[in-house]
Amino acid sequence: MKITIYRPQHFRNLISLNGRRSGLHLLGALAIGLLFSHHADASFVGSYAFNNFTLKDTSTCGLDTPNGSAATPDNGLSVVLTGSDSGSGCPGTTDLTAAAAAAGTVAFQYSYSSTDLPGNDIAGYLLGTAFTKLADTSGQSGTASFAVASGQRFGFRIVQDNQGGPGILSVSGFTAPGGSAPAVPEPGTLSLLAVSLGVVVAKQLVSRNRVNKAVTVA
């Protein structure tokens, strides 16, 4: 689910709303923040935590030792899938897949890079065993979405020839059913949100008291 308010910057943003704003303004800003944070924070957490994905390399050569890899450079906000480039010259695939936690729509943004010439490595997504090509030329990017059934495996794939440099697929803004759902925070998230709101309201009250005292003194 959402990790928005675990992020220090967001937390600072929340508590920086000072008492000069009205409570309505405060709540409105929080709501807007939550809405906007949906795009920035959709990520590989919860059911789709990076560790819940499976990395698998295949090669048409039995002696090959493919070296595809995957990583999340930003604690789950995005995932980078790097295709194998073992040097064998043998065609193969590097997959990063997970099971859908629920039926619904998977959506994400992607960008593709490679030092190899266009067409020698191909990046795309997997739905079951069906592969859909997204990019084969360095610099290509876009968005993609598709429907999954509950329990169905899906993910990302690099199709490669294990030479000339790997294909690299970066995926961000990832949302999937039963995973990141912006309108329905998890209980833990709600608790933290409540704490945050409490802090802000308390500061608001303190601020008001100071104002009131000032008025009194004046």
Binding site: D64, D85, G87, G89, C90, N120, D161, N162
Partner: protein, 580 residues
């Protein structure tokens, strides 16, 4: 008899391709099975133990202390605009490594091997192989096997003559003047992880019992019967005279070792025996399975590469570290890299691929060799290196001054293939900030591809290695399966006696400091640097670097140790380990 096939087909076949296409040159070989035959079986431990029972020979009369200096196989090359072309480099600071290492074979060890029935030899051409808890080191012309802590495992250093089952280089107990035997040189050792076998390789020009050179030559390859380097080896011999070549009889100089999944490759430079003129390059592709099985006549195909563009010289085969994979498509393939030897300066490297190497598993191999060029970085033949002054026990007796050290040429010195990248090194002249012309190193990390019969390469990262006011000699690179490794070399100059040093490197970064592993304690003081041999001492011709199965990098380099020497030379080697 050696019979290199001489076929060059289809120069510039890439002409119809887009402008950016790299020209393709194709070569075909000929089946040479039967030319390399098993001639002996030796057990190194037994040989070394038998040495313990023999008294050390001290007689040298009537024989000289050393053979004529090793062949100096540089090609004549244009040096036009050398100063203008010399690349300037960012001088690296120098530090101390603190790594584990030990003193390995020295000139003293080499000369005393085989009960002293050896010549004094310079340079050592150090070579190492590491696996299974063993380190095999070879120098001209002796071997020792060490544990991983540097303990010698053979009770005596062996001459390679013993390893190859031939008589001593010189029988110093023979007072009739007829004690000359085989004089092997240009040693290479290797461990092949695919077949778990150790290799010792050398070449020799034949001579009569009086020491006169004959117009014939041989290649010797010892292959262990097991994964234990201290035990029994099958010895293979090949006549490399190439008498069918109108420009020969020849010697197969500068033999270099590489391997892929299926083949064991030896590249050579053919020089004629009369004038020591370069004739052409050759590559032998030998079935690894045949060698592992101890076949009497391993399956083999030979290639002869005529000297045309200048890249057909010292074609260095690639080695693949443990855990990495060689090129497997197109029936398997072995990459090679060479540099320009004809026209200087240059900034291209030649990339070669020998494909369909899996056919070496059958009786009728049909390999194909393709070559193209890759834009890399400017390089130019280096001049000599200057030494820090110091005591010269030999030089003072010969009237010689402090010798220069041979800076070598720009031939490719090492090639490692890991993760689809070729890591390679060569020597080049460089200029520091003064600018002062120095001997430095160059490296290139390339991405090769072979698709639909077209060989291409891209230089991903290139760079120079150099230090202020001093030189780096004979850079050798090795990387592990993750592409992390190091480059070993000798550091020498006005500020340093010849010292073993290295620098870490990987696919993306190069270390910021040259690290001294074994500081030299004196100048090189060997016979090749004094009259009548001139004023430039032989050095190298290599450094050594290999990756072990645990990902560590073992290196070896020539330096001047604080240890026993002979009256004729004082070189030694250091072996050390770097963990990336």
């Amino acid at each position: 008899m050696m019979s290199f096939s001489r076929s060059l087909i289809g120069l510039a076949l890439g002409a119809a391709l887009p402008l950016a296409a790299q020209t393709q040159n194709h070569y075909v070989g000929s089946i040479a099975t039967g030319q390399l035959t098993r001639t002996a079986v030796v057990n190194l431990t037994q040989l070394a133990q038998s040495q313990l029972l023999q008294a050390q020979s001290v007689l040298s009369y009537p024989y000289p202390e050393f053979k004529p200096t090793k062949l100096f196989p540089k090609l004549s090359a244009s040096t036009i605009a050398v100063a203008l072309a010399t690349p300037s480099m960012q001088s690296l600071p120098i530090g101390v490594s603190g790594l584990f290492g030990f003193n390995a074979l020295s000139h003293y060890d080499q000369r005393q091997a085989n009960n002293g029935n050896q010549f004094s030899v310079e340079p050592p051409s150090p070579s190492i192989a590491v696996a299974n808890g063993y380190i095999l080191e070879g120098v001209n012309n002796a071997v020792q096997i060490y544990s991983m802590t540097g303990t010698p495992l053979l009770p005596k250093v062996l001459a390679t003559n013993q390893v190859f089952g031939v008589g001593p280089a010189i029988d110093r107990s023979n007072n009739a003047g007829t004690g000359y035997g085989v004089f092997p040189t240009d040693i290479r050792v290797y461990y092949d992880q695919g077949i778990s076998r150790w290799f010792v390789l050398q070449r020799a020009q034949d001579e009569d019992v009086f020491g006169n050179n004959l117009n014939s030559s041989h290649l010797y390859i010892a292959v262990s019967q097991t994964s234990d380097p201290t035990q029994t080896y099958n010895v293979y011999t090949m006549n490399t005279t190439d008498a069918a070549n109108p420009r020969c009889p020849c010697i197969a100089d500068y033999p270099q070792i590489g391997s892929d999944q299926y083949g064991f490759f030896v590249s050579v430079n053919e020089y004629d025996t009369f004038y020591n003129q370069f004739v052409d390059a050759g590559i032998l592709a030998i079935s690894k399975s045949s060698l592992a099985a101890g076949s009497l006549a391993p399956t083999m195909e030979s290639f002869s590469i005529p000297f045309q563009s200048g890249y057909e010289f010292a074609i260095q085969p690639a080695t693949t570290p443990p855990g990495a994979v060689s090129f497997l498509a197109n029936g398997g393939g072995e990459y090679f890299v060479s540099s320009q030897s004809k026209f200087f300066p240059d900034n291209n490297l030649a990339l070669w691929l020998m494909s369909n190497t899996s056919s070496l598993g059958g009786a009728f191999p049909s390999l194909s060799l393709t070559q193209t060029t890759v834009a890399a970085l400017p390089y130019i033949t280096p001049d000599v290196a200057i030494q820090r002054p110091g005591p010269l026990p030999l030089g003072s007796t010969l009237g010689g001054a402090l010798a220069f050290l041979d800076g070598g040429d720009t031939r490719i010195l090492s090639v490692s293939y890991a993760g689809g990248k070729l890591y390679t090194t060569l020597a080049t002249q460089v200029a520091d900030s003064q600018p002062k012309l120095l001997v430095g190193g160059a490296y290139a990390i390339m991405s090769p591809t072979f698709r639909s019969g077209t060989l291409k390469g891209t230089a991903l990262r290139v760079g120079y290695l150099g230090v202020q006011n001093n030189s780096l000699l004979r850079p050798a690179i090795a990387v592990n399966a993750q592409g992390k490794g190091a480059i070993s070399f000798t550091l020498v100059g006005p500020d340093y006696f010849p010292s073993a040093a290295f620098i870490p490197i990987d696919a993306l970064t190069t270390g910021s400091t040259v690290l001294i592993q074994a500081p030299g304690v004196a100048p090189e003081d060997g016979f090749t640097g004094y009259p009548p041999n001139g004023s430039v001492a032989r050095w190298g011709d290599y450094s050594a670097a290999v990756a072990a199965s645990d990902g560590s990098i073992w290196m070896g380099a020539e330096y001047i140790p604080n240890g026993p020497r002979t009256p004729k030379a004082n070189w030694g080697t250091a072996i050390f380990r770097y963990i990336p």
